[in-house]
Amino acid sequence: MVDENTPADVSFLNEIDRLVHEPSRLMLMAVLYVVESADFTFLMNQTGMTWGNLSAHMSKLEEAGYLEVEKTFKGRRPYTLLRLTQEGREAFQNYRNKMRQVLDELPE
């Protein structure tokens, strides 16, 4: 039986990937997880982020190796296509499992 006075062990919260945990990046990764690839405009519409915000988060995820960014031109305008790398997919899945565990273990 669990003693109500004993503080719950929440040390595993430290294992949560903070890069994924940030709400905007989480939203971005969730959308990219369910599709194969998407361009900047599509992601802006789906996440409601501004161009600058999305660009900043994109760079962070790209640096971490979670995101593959393909830059080309469509006519005279730059065109950016984004997709999660295998590492990014695994990081997102791990984050999801961890959060599930955290929420399930919370007392009622």
């Binding site: 369910v34 998407a38 361009d39 405009t41 599509f42 789906q46 161009w51 730059p78 950016t80």
Partner: protein
């Protein structure tokens, strides 16, 4: 088990965005309208040419509106996306199921033709005597069965919720068309499909304005 992220819903929402423009409704309604036009316009020699021209213009026009609209109006506004394996699987399943339904429909038609040509067989099977009204009812039901389930399945597998409305509308229209031998029912159905499509299209244009020219598609 609690899941803070409903990925299925996220995927569904992303996918449904691609239908928000109403172009598929306009395309579908346009094709229905072109067939209705072909049947409604007089078939005399002087009008024959006009009928086919109008049919072709209407059918090709609605397909062009769809293709060009997607490329030049929808994509620049909502962006481009390639969906994952789950969506491709659903598409494949739709193909198999629709193939099965078409096969079944062919069997029903063949069986009905057989019954119509063999009144004795119909009697042996305990079916009512194939009078003119019965024949027409049978054809109307078969026509409805051709259209209804196929469109419903298309709507289900494509997550195209307006497809259910179109399925019901088309089923009723086809039944009434055959029962009353009046192609205006088909034209009315086409109008009831196109009008909401146009409304959706206008709403889409307002909801997703073109990104300003100075904003690039990406950093």
């Amino acid at each position: 088990m609690s899941d803070p992220l409903d990925l299925r819903q996220i995927e569904k929402k992303a996918f449904r965005t691609t239908w928000e423009d109403g172009l598929l409704d306009i395309n579908f309604g346009g094709i229905v309208a072109s067939f209705a036009l072909l049947a409604i316009l007089p078939a005399e020699d002087t009008f024959r040419f006009l009928r086919y021209v109008l049919f072709t213009v209407c059918a090709v026009g609605s397909m062009l509106i769809y293709q060009l609209g997607k490329k030049y109006i929808t994509q620049p506004r909502i962006g481009q996306v390639t969906f994952g394996a789950m969506r491709k699987r659903r598409k494949a399943v739709l193909g198999v199921v629709l193939g099965g339904i078409v096969g079944l429909q062919v069997l029903i038609v063949l069986f009905s033709v057989l019954l119509m040509n063999n009144p004795g067989l119909a009697g042996q099977l305990g079916l009512p005597n194939a009078g003119q009204d019965f024949e027409r009812l049978l054809v109307a039901v078969i026509g409805t069965l051709f259209v209804g389930p196929s469109l419903t399945l298309m709507a289900y597998f494509s997550d195209w919720s307006r497809g259910y409305y179109i399925a019901v509308l088309m089923s009723v229209a086809v039944f009434l068309l055959i029962w009353f031998d009046n192609y205006w029912f088909l034209m009315a159905a086409a109008a009831l499909i196109i009008i909401p499509g146009v409304v959706l299209f206008i709403r889409f244009l307002r909801k997703y304005p073109l990104p300003p020219a100075e904003v690039p598609h990406g950093g």
